[in-house]
């Protein structure tokens, strides 16, 4: 479905001194992987490891410095915007910030129907989508600030599903939510992926969260993938020291409670 090869992306920072070259940040340094249709592909790593950069490249919202990305066998990394039409309905994104990812001046119905253009039957589609993400039909006339963080992520999900995509990219989609809401949204994502037979790319800094929705995981550090494999295998038997560090750092309720019992 998606195939990434030797992907690199560097950013030029603004000058720190008058003389000398502008420093470069290598956000991605040679990333390669394949994602099969229907796969639920997780990407973990701490902030700054290049996860969001990778997501933007997969959605063709940015161009790599070098390397290639193919989508259903077609190269997308060097296509001009006007020839990306086929991808625009196929690949959709949900972001982390429940407030920043919805235009505060648009009504929910306009937000959700935005990717639909002038297609007929928009209203019915909006109603259908609100129902699919578990929001009441009267939500469509309201504005984003009238919703809680979890509800806003539902609105983002509805917008992403509107053009009937085949791939859903989720960039830290539950990281800003508290435990109860996080569980609801994770369950919803899993359900939607199942129902609409989506291929999922799910990004998080928390391996525990990735484990709940993904079957495969890539561990990123400083722009490189250091480990890639089935999620349970990586979690139960990490090969790379950095993966071990990530697992150890994640607060673990069972372990903490076990620790308390012993006292």
């Amino acid at each position: 479905m998606i195939s990434v090869s030797e992907l690199e992306r560097s950013y030029r920072r603004s000058r720190t001194s008058l003389t000398g070259p502008r420093p470069e940040v290598h956000a991605l340094r040679g990333v390669s992987f394949d994602i099969e249709r229907g796969q639920r592909f997780g990407i973990v790593g701490e902030s700054g490891s290049g996860k969001s950069t990778l997501v933007r490249l997969l959605a063709a919202l940015d161009r790599p410095t070098s390397g290639s990305i193919t989508f259903q066998g077609r190269r997308i990394d060097d296509l001009p915007e006007r020839r990306l039409g086929f991808l625009r309905s196929q690949v959709q994104i949900v972001f982390q910030d429940p407030m920043g990812s919805l235009d505060p001046r648009m009504r929910v119905r306009d937000i959700i129907s935005e990717p639909l253009g002038r297609r007929p039957g928009r209203r019915e589609r909006v109603r259908e989508l609100l129902d699919a993400v578990g929001l009441p039909a009267d939500a469509s006339e309201r504005y984003p600030h009238q919703f809680s963080g979890g509800q806003r992520q539902r609105i983002s999900l509805a917008r992403a599903l509107a053009p009937r995509p085949s791939v859903l990219l989720a960039d830290e989609a539950v990281s800003a939510l508290d435990v109860l809401v996080r569980k609801q949204i994770l369950d919803l994502i899993a359900e939607l992926v199942e129902r609409y037979e989506l291929t999922l790319v799910f990004v998080s800094h928390d391996l525990g969260v990735v484990r709940r929705v993904c079957d495969t995981v890539a561990v990123m550090r400083a722009g490189e993938i250091v480990e890639l494999g089935p999620v349970d295998e990586v979690y139960d038997d990490p090969k790379h020291p950095y993966t071990r560090e990530l697992i150890a750092a994640a607060p673990n309720l069972a372990a903490a409670l076990a620790g308390l019992e012993e006292e």
Binding site: L61, F95, S101, M106, P115
Partner: protein
């Protein structure tokens, strides 16, 4: 609390100027242009509230009609600046890098060119009038709108809802009209109010120097100019239009401050 206060004070002062101008269309105590040598340089009285000038014209009536000139200049100059500057700023923020650079360099050039000089040049070619002064002020104000619009556009373009719109296949035009423009409208409104105050002051200055409103049309700047020779004997003739200018400038500045506090999300109370 203070933010609402400055908004309120701004609305009251601006309302005073606008109200005066509106009333002057239907009624003024006297004909503001009527020259009458028998009533020259009278002090304030029941009949002439602010007295008369050296030609015997009623100062209060001139002041009222002058408010019209002031508002006309403000509205037209700010209108020109906003209508030209805002799209330029959006284009600079959304377009290719070279386009943005080009627009901002030209912008700097205009900014470095004094409005006064522009007004003198326009006046020399077309004859000094309220209109030439207004156009000069309008052109000189374009850069402030372009700048604020560009800053706002860059911020909106970095949001995730714009990324989502792009991922949904939306064109640049759509993003500019549906996302950028509505979200920078608050900034533009604030800039309008502040620029209005500057325009009012600039018109007064240009008229004072003789490059703006020509006689006999009443304008606060011209009243100030005509009071000059009698400053020592009749300071009243300078103080009254001076106070009117101060009220209008203060009013629009306070309005701008009040609006800024309402629209600037960084100052929003944390919940």
């Amino acid at each position: 609390m203070t933010r609402n206060l400055s908004l309120l004070a701004g609305v009251v002062l601006v309302g005073l100027v606008v109200g005066t101008a509106l009333v002057s269309f239907g009624w003024t105590p006297h004909d503001p242009l009527l020259v009458d040598a028998s009533v020259r340089l009278l002090g304030p009285s029941g009949e002439f509230v602010f007295g008369t000038d050296k030609l015997g014209r009623d100062v209060a009536s001139q002041l009222m009609v002058g408010a019209r000139t002031t508002l006309y200049v403000g509205v037209v100059a700010v209108g020109i600046a906003a209508v030209v500057g805002t799209p330029l700023g959006i284009a600079a923020g959304m377009g290719a890098r070279w386009l943005g650079e080009l627009i901002m360099r030209v912008n700097d050039l205009v900014l470095a060119f004094p409005a006064l000089l522009l007004a003198i040049m326009l006046g020399a070619v077309y004859g000094a009038s309220t209109l030439t002064a207004t156009i000069a002020i309008g052109i000189a104000t374009v850069p402030s709108f372009a700048r604020i619009a560009r800053a706002g556009t860059l911020q909106v373009m970095s949001t995730e809802y714009v990324l989502a719109a792009r991922a949904g296949g939306r064109s640049r035009w759509w993003i500019a009209l549906r996302h950028v423009l509505p979200n920078i409208s608050g900034l533009v409104l604030v800039q309008s109010s502040v620029s209005f105050a500057i325009a009012v002051l600039a018109e007064a200055a240009l008229s004072f120097l003789g490059f703006g409103t020509a006689p006999p049309t009443p304008s606060w700047g011209r009243m100030l100019q005509e009071s000059q020779e009698l400053l020592a004997v009749e300071p009243r003739l300078a103080l009254i239009p001076g106070a009117a200018i101060a009220v209008a400038v203060l009013g629009f500045n306070l309005l701008g401050d009040g609006l800024r506090d309402r629209f600037d999300p960084r100052l929003e109370v944390r919940r």
